[in-house]
Symmetry: C2
Subunit: 229 residues, 2 copies
Amino acid sequence: MDIAKQLSHIPLFQGLEPQYLETLARIAVKKFFKRGETVFAEGDPGIGFHIITSGRIKVYKTSPDGKEQILHIMSQGEPFGEVPVFTGQRFPAYAEAIADTNTLFMPRDDFMNLIRTEPSVALSMLSVLSMRLKRFTSLIEDLSLREVPGRLAAYLLYLSERDQGTDDINLEISKTQLASILGTIPETLSRILARMTREAIIESDDKRHVRICDRTAIEELAAGERRLA
Amino acid sequence: MDIAKQLSHIPLFQGLEPQYLETLARIAVKKFFKRGETVFAEGDPGIGFHIITSGRIKVYKTSPDGKEQILHIMSQGEPFGEVPVFTGQRFPAYAEAIADTNTLFMPRDDFMNLIRTEPSVALSMLSVLSMRLKRFTSLIEDLSLREVPGRLAAYLLYLSERDQGTDDINLEISKTQLASILGTIPETLSRILARMTREAIIESDDKRHVRICDRTAIEELAAGERRLA
DNA sequence: CGTGCGCTTGACTTTTTTCAATAAAGGTGG
DNA sequence: CCACCTTTATTGAAAAAAGTCAAGCGCACG
């Protein structure tokens, strides 16, 4: 597919004039990653960043003994790996394809040149990084100030809201990965889902799906006004 | 003092041409906050950001029951509160002066105009936000993958390194605030400092000072290769 | 048709928090 | 300069939350 056309659908480049899209299209490199493949590792030098055109990527940290904390899961249209482009340092985390994924790779130097001549791209990128800081802020708040049931409740509300307030939530990821997003382990998540089911707050099958039965209870859990028995 | 001169010392504006410094100086507004005063609250609209010229600011989140997680402590030359400038949304956290503090306040619209005409400022700001993302990444890693002794050890190493590798570390903040940075409570921190002292890894008096006695042990704790008895 | 991975559950351990009490330090006003 | 009061730090005992280890189930995939 035509790269310029793909680029024109990326939020980061919305409103960019066609001539610059052409420039970008010339410098962008198509890449493909098989499910399970590592895109970059913590400590790798960051010579550019990726934009996802299809598939899904998880960005995560690991502990010496193998536990994993997912920082975000990125899908179509989202850029990732930009931090070392602007700090000039190395990747602070790992990235791995959790589905077969196509990306456009933007080499650092070319992209920096574009930014120098095209302020709207700089502003878009500032917005992207700021949104990400905001999300990290929430994640830190969750990890530090809430217990796992509260984090789970907040996450379910977030997914529900993103899908127009539906009660039928498609997790889209495995429960093991959900545990890693919530900063816990599968056993703990499993137990808490069981408790919430027992209290008729949710229904949960094993098919990456959760149904909210008592939204008020979920909201109270997320707000810390309620606890599970 | 002359605002343009103050601005010329701010890393964010290094290398900016004098004419732009003059422009900035005209739009910047001097502000003063007394120790304990709130600079902004979570949810406030972000009509601009601050740059610290003297003093110290803590940026933090709170839980319903009053526990507090410090996101960062900012001092001279550092900007804070930029996120809503670029997201167009509200402040995602609180900011409070923990010492008498002077800032330069940069109104959003004027600053955005500067960025549109001066790419070097945009690049500086991208660098600032990227560094912050990197630090948040570490904080998330700490909170999720390490226990409190490991976090404390990593923090001590960070402070030591920042001060040219000295063994005599000046915390500069109260132990209550250190606990809040580490994502725990004063009691837990106190106990862990006591255990580390008992094992002759550190010496800790109550005067915002810690001395590293066994650096290897600290490094092993930070790397998760060792645990306290 | 088995092998493996994801998920669940139970029993147990570890870590951290909570609650309470005390001690020490620092600032304020007389 | 001292008494007083608030804040900060420490310690113990008990409770709660989450993690570890181990076992078992079921479904998907080769």
